[in-house]
Amino acid sequence: GVYWVDSQQKRYVPVKGDHVIGIVTAKSGDIFKVDVGGSEPASLSYLAFEGATKRNRPNVQVGDLIYGQFVVANKDMEPEMVCIDSCGRASGMGVIGQDGLLFKVTLGLIRKLLAPDCEILQEVGKLYPLEIVFGMNGRIWVKAKTIQQTLILANILEACEHMTADQRKQIFSRLAES
């Protein structure tokens, strides 16, 4: 029997197939250097976007947020990521739009929130309409109608780490009232 053990950590180590949120730090020639929170920046080719060709380059600037997955991630090589799946479709990956807030949480919290039986996300969705992107590297991007709502959502998600289910329900009901 082989076991996969995930432990609670703050530092991300790239794993092949993981979907992560990265920040573009440099554009050099044909590749972008993307900071994913690991020990070195990942490389992203400009052709790894849906509908990108040599003539039709994607509109990516330094400082943009990218949602992509790793195709190469091992301890000996520089990690490489792409924004298309194996069929060439974007399926939600690519440059993340304007506005919104990016914040960092622990890896354990991300896995908890993405678990199929997690109710936190449904409760949050009932509170305000929102757009949310989870990166397995501990980064969450959230966008709601107003800045205040966005900040409230960010605070709730960060606090979910330490709250029990009852405390969480209390806070949600208080927010729903106001």
Partner: protein, 245 residues
């Protein structure tokens, strides 16, 4: 019973809470007899928000705060092609770090390199930063314990846990474990030993003073017995931390 401290430097309502998990040891904290008993110890994990792992270890009145960053970026001049570069920085309570800190850093680094699985993260750096909060004897052992707990908190892969135990030999041959600053000054010899958790093997030893071969063996045996307490404390500490959900 486990005490969960909810509170941090800047708390904004009940929304942002940093959980600091503190466990206290159940070992005797009263006046110690001439035989082997350790001072009261306590450990707090995950108390700093910036480092990937942090821990504070208290032994009696000696207290050390440790933070671990890693596996992180490393400068090309310092990178090692097949394993992680381990760095230890020790800051004294007052004054600038001097030669004594440098030598302690090297001892701690050698101990950590023996247990950390550096080959899993080549061309990265793992940095351990230690800050002496108070020094009342057995400082190096306390630093080792804090470093180990911080490495565990950061999730750095290790082949074993390690602990530090200090022994002081008096002029009349009696052995005192975990000596206070006064006992260290009056002792004939002070030995600090680092032991691993799997087979209680010796990882590092640093000694000062005059002692015989038989006394060294006696200290080693006493340290191995004392390390049982420390490792049991580590285990309880981690169990309490992860048992709350």
């Amino acid at each position: 019973s486990p005490r969960l401290h909810v509170g941090s430097g800047a708390v904004e309502g009940a929304m942002q809470a940093d959980a600091k998990i503190r466990t206290e040891s159940a070992t005797e904290s009263g006046p110690r007899g001439p035989s082997c008993s350790l001072r009261h110890f306590a450990c707090e994990q995950n108390l700093l928000s910036r480092p990937d792992g942090s821990a504070s270890f208290l032994q009696g009145d000696t207290s050390v705060l440790a933070g671990v960053y890693g596996p992180a970026e490393v400068k090309v001049s310092k990178e090692i092609f097949n394993k992680a570069t381990l760095e230890v920085i020790l800051r004294p309570k007052i004054g600038l770090p001097g030669v004594a800190e440098k030598s302690r850093e090297r001892l701690i680094r050698n101990t950590c390199e023996a247990v950390v699985l550096g080959t899993l993260h080549p061309r990265t750096s793992i940095t351990v930063v230690l800050q002496v909060v108070s020094d009342a004897g057995s400082l190096l052992a306390c630093c080792l314990n804090a470093a180990c707990m911080a490495l565990v908190d950061a999730g750095v892969p290790m082949r074993a846990l390690f602990c530090g135990v200090t022994c002081a030999l008096n002029a009349d041959g009696t052995l005192v474990l975990d000596p206070t600053a006064k006992q260290e000054k009056e002792a004939r010899a002070v030995l600090t030993l680092a032991l691993d958790s799997v087979e209680r093997k010796l990882l590092m030893s640093t000694t000062k003073g005059l002692y015989s071969d038989a006394e060294l063996q006696q200290c080693l045996a006493a340290a191995q017995a004392a390390s049982q307490h420390v490792f049991r404390f580590y285990r309880e500490s981690l169990q309490r931390r992860y048992s709350k959900s």
